[in-house]
């Protein structure tokens, strides 16, 4: 076992070469910035104040030293909600804008923006803000197209400004500890040979938003919708269901977890095989169910990773990732209660790790009664169950936003800058094409490089 301590770790120690694609998950550029007016306050504009914008603002309220100068959203309802939320928090109203260009030309002294617009607007909005000299936090998926994502990396590197992509698990203390200490430090999994992940959503949670009778207050006028790329209110509210506006469930949901596959394995896949279909939602443009397998060559050897995103069932308990090794399986999830660590019966003792509080042992479940329908000699012994030594008490996106603003202050490096996010997201762009063609895709430089 490696003796890296939790206090002497190198966060980027996981970085490794992907032999198949010949790509390297390189360390991020050491990008640091100072706020524009030299004061302690960071002047922020919030771009997009829909559901996800509200989620991010709820986290931002817990971060001190931020001054919200402007809110931009094409919807009167969202914009007013954003302005009122900011007003309630900081005691005075920010300026409101429908159009981002108008905001960028009118607002002086901005340092940073937080972008939570639909996926197809991420790239244009991010590029505009970076070109205007602003630091950017942009929600994932970077873009609905790989070229859009590439443009974000180019703009970030050309501008020299910070660009953090909202893969919030990268800043989650539980994920970071698992990655640094348990997988790479203590190597408790042994050789990881397989990874499995899922995000399964029930039918009830997968229904379209809105309906035939929308409240007047939320309706955006048709000319505004058309100007900003939406055909009508239904498309505006349900942009995730349209091919031109989003990457579909594999991008909306899968991107979070496939990012973790790549991060934890320290590699990008060399091949993807995918299958998808419209098993239930026949009229949707995107697949409602997608299953895919990624092949990796890692420093440890071959790894096969299976991922499924199903929008017709919550089977399997929602969303999680399983890293399966010869000595243990680590099940990670954003919801702490879903996480667990399972020690294989033949693995070396973990008593010392438990004594030093690297992991906690969970009480053993009661032994099941002998069953006549099982052939005991064919069964593996049940693995012992362990847990992380602690959790964290913040909203899920807060550590990632804290990391971003610490980087803006020059006190940290980004946990998921645009280049790293691109390297991790690039394979995801090839899942739908593989499923559509019914063919595996060998991921080469042209598929994965910036």
């Amino acid at each position: 076992m490696n003796d890296i301590t939790p206090n002497s770790l190198n966060r980027r120690s996981f970085l490794a070469k992907s032999a198949g694609a010949g790509l390297v998950l390189a360390p991020p550029n050491i990008l640091r910035a100072a706020n524009a007016d030299g004061s302690d306050k960071i002047h922020v504009a919030l771009i997009g104040f829909g559901k996800q914008g509200q989620v991010l603002f709820d986290c931002l309220k817990n971060i001190s030293g931020l001054h919200y100068q402007a809110v931009c959203d094409i919807s009167d309802w969202n914009r007013t909600k954003g302005i009122n939320s900011v007003n309630a928090h900081q005691g005075f109203k920010p300026e409101g804008y429908v159009d981002i260009d108008e905001m960028l030309s009118a607002e002086k002294g901005l340092d940073a923006v937080v972008i939570a617009t639909p996926d197809f607007w991420h790239s244009p909005h991010t590029v505009k803000c970076l070109e205007a000299g602003l630091n950017v936090y942009c929600e994932k998926m970077m873009s609905n197209t790989i070229d859009g994502a590439r443009a974000m990396v180019h703009a970030a590197e050309k501008s020299g400004k910070l660009c953090q992509i909202g893969h919030q698990r990268r800043s989650n203390p539980r994920y970071r500890y698992t990655h640094d200490q348990l997988i790479n430090g203590k190597k408790i999994c042994g050789q990881i040979t397989n990874v499995q992940g899922q995000w399964n959503r029930s039918l009830g949670s997968s229904q379209p938003i809105g309906g035939s009778k929308l409240p007047k207050s939320i309706i955006v006028s048709e000319d505004v919708l058309n100007r900003y790329g939406f055909k009508d209110m239904n498309q505006y509210l349900n942009w995730r269901l349209y091919r031109d506006l989003s990457g579909g469930p594999i991008s909306d949901l899968g991107a979070h977890q496939i990012d973790i596959f790549n991060w934890f394995l320290g590699a990008v896949p060399k091949r993807v095989y995918a299958s998808g279909g419209k098993a239930y939602f026949k009229d949707r443009e995107h697949f409602d169910n997608v299953m895919c397998i990624f092949d990796y060559d890692t420093d440890q050897g071959e790894v096969r990773a299976f991922y499924e995103v199903l929008t017709t069932t919550s089977s399997g308990g929602g969303f999680w990732e399983n890293f399966m090794g010869t000595e243990a399986t680590i099940k990670t999830a954003e919801i702490a209660s879903t996480s667990a660590i399972y020690r294989e019966s033949g693995a070396p003792s973990w008593d010392e790790l438990v004594d030093q509080n690297y992991i906690k042992k969970k009480p053993a479940p009661p032994k099941p009664a002998p069953s006549a329908d099982a052939v005991a000699s064919y069964e593996s012994a049940a693995p012992e169950e362990y847990d992380l030594p602690g959790g964290f008490n913040k909203l899920a996106h807060q550590p990632h936003l804290e990391n971003y603003f610490a980087a803006v202050r020059g006190k940290a490096t980004l946990n998921c800058d645009a280049r790293h996010a691109f390297e991790s997201e690039a394979p995801i762009f090839w899942v739908n094409p593989s499923a559509l063609s019914g063919q595996p895709i060998d991921l080469k430089s042209e598929h994965l490089s910036v």
Binding site: T5, P6, R176, Q356, N357, P389, G390, F392
Partner: protein, 183 residues
């Protein structure tokens, strides 16, 4: 019946009446205590919240550098935790066309303080009858909200509160040791 027998009966009746009066006073006190404590503590709970531990978990003998903290949460009281209408119900109420948004906000703000104030006035015996009446109105308003969102268990639960309020009003004349007997 002799004079002596009549006198004995009157004394027994008087004694019994006195005993009943004490029972009524005890009954009034018990209801006053129950309703007062119930309202005060319910109001106070609206100012409670749970916060996670800030203490970093020690790993290998030292506080960890990742920000991992103990999983246990600590219950605290303070105005920053105030939630009049429970969050889980608020969303449902907001969708109810009969509930005006502004009215709901006002109700959310006054519910906790109203419960504490009415609980205190009932417990201390300040304008007990009016306080009990207002508490009954408050429980009626809560009942109406629960009817709107089809929470029948809650309606029945509040119904038992209403019975106790009415019983306390019926025993109001036996309520002793009050600060303000008027109203």
């Amino acid at each position: 019946m002799s004079k002596e027998e009549i006198a004995t009966d009157e004394a027994a009746e008087k004694n019994s009446c006195c005993h009943n009066k004490i029972a009524m006073v005890y009954g009034a006190w018990l209801l006053r205590l129950w309703l007062g404590v119930r309202a005060i503590q319910t109001g106070l709970e609206k100012f409670s919240g749970k916060v996670g531990s800030e203490e970093l978990v020690k790993i290998g003998g030292d506080p960890n550098a990742y920000g991992l903290v103990a999983d246990e949460k600590v219950k605290l009281y303070g105005p920053q935790f105030y939630h009049g209408v429970p969050e889980a119900l608020m969303g449902k109420f907001e969708k109810e066309p009969l509930l005006l948004g502004f009215g709901l906000k006002v109700y959310d703000v006054i519910l906790g303080p109203a419960l504490i104030v009415l609980g205190l006035t009932i417990l201390l015996g300040i304008a007990s009858r009016t306080s009990l009446f207002l508490l009954g109105i408050l429980y009626t308003s809560l009942t109406w909200g629960l009817i709107l969102i089809s929470q029948n268990d809650g309606v029945a639960w509040l119904g038992t509160h209403m019975i106790l309020v009415v019983m306390a009003l019926a025993l109001a004349e036996h309520n002793r040791f009050t600060i303000l007997k008027k109203w």
